[in-house]
Symmetry: C2
Subunit: 202 residues, 2 copies
């Protein structure tokens, strides 16, 4: 009979929550390929051997870190869309995305977009969780757009617009890498929002 980990005797010393937070940060800064287990060991303070023991390899560790990141991010996104004015809701969402991409002390890229470009095709398991992540993003935006249509605040197609917005946010993450310029990223999403068929709230 299998015993739950919590009741086992040789207990893990490190704080997994912290480790995954740091892993997300390292992967965001260095990218998936360039990040080594040694990097992760040094930055988390956990021995490389312990990481191998706990996660088997970089792929698995990445997947754990990714799911950690995803949960936080999608919850955040959903929260940003709460505004009852649809255009304001999406403005706030995109503004938050841009802020997150730029606010860090060090220059770092978008965790998911970097992973997509480096690992999606190479590792089926990673591609799957990336697909799920973008699908999740799309659903959240689609739902908000459907609400906006009901509220007569939006005059487009919810599904295709959500897909379009997912792509646009990825594009903004790419732009960040090249220009490293928040105002340019803001300009991009403002232009997009301006063109979208939002209606004034009556």
């Amino acid at each position: 009979m299998k015993i739950s980990r919590e009741s086992m005797v040789g207990t893990r010393k490190f704080n997994e929550e912290k480790v995954l937070d740091i892993a997300v940060d390292v992967f965001s800064r260095k990218g998936f390929i360039a990040t080594t287990m040694l990097d992760l060991a040094e930055e988390t303070g956990v021995q490389r051997g312990s990481l191998y023991n706990a996660y088997k390899n970089k792929n698995v560790l990445f997947l754990k870190a990714f799911s950690h990141y995803t949960n936080n991010f999608l919850t955040l996104i959903e929260g940003e869309l709460q505004n009852s004015d649809a255009k304001k809701a999406f403005t706030q969402l995109l503004n938050t995305v841009v802020e997150r991409l730029c606010s860090d002390k060090e220059v770092r890229g978008c965790f998911s977009t970097r992973a997509i470009m480096e690992a999606a095709q190479k590792c089926p398991d990673i591609q799957l969780c990336l697909t799920r992540f973008l699908d999740g993003l799309e659903v959240i935006m689609k739902n908000r757009l459907e609400q906006a249509i009901k509220d007569k605040q939006f005059g487009g197609n919810a599904q295709s617009t959500a897909r379009y917005l997912v792509a646009l946010t990825r594009g903004i993450a790419v732009i960040e890498r090249v220009y490293n310029d928040k105002s340019r990223m803001t300009e991009v999403y403002q232009t997009a929002l301006e063109y979208m068929p939002f209606n004034k709230v009556t």
Copy 2:
């Protein structure tokens, strides 16, 4: 006195044009980091030592390959925008971009977008040429949009719309990596075009 390379005695054996074409292909498929000099040597048929002799290192070889790619690509883009109907012109452009991303026998990514995500921040020289490339793309689109405005075919701002479109094409390249689905990419650019303030030709 410096003698031009063409008149020198120990002449290069390999066809640089071909090598750079292949290099672009390899970098597109494997990404910048994952591509090794050995990969390039094997796929081009040129000895690794010869590549080091000719290009010093991977960065330099990449820069050469990139400029090779850029010249072709920007010329192509400009050509696609020739249609006198602005909306049709941009439709054709985006369609070509999508076709290029999907048409290859093997699954490969967008050369420039992969490089942006992997190398932009790490290598100033590579970042510079990537910046120039996106700037070039932007200018070409901006010029066409200004023409469209003169022709009363477009009712937006040329500069910011061009920037927006550059970001959008990057986003489409990211989507390609995850979903590998041409119809999704098409859906994205069609949605974008539909929302842009084009006017019917009178």
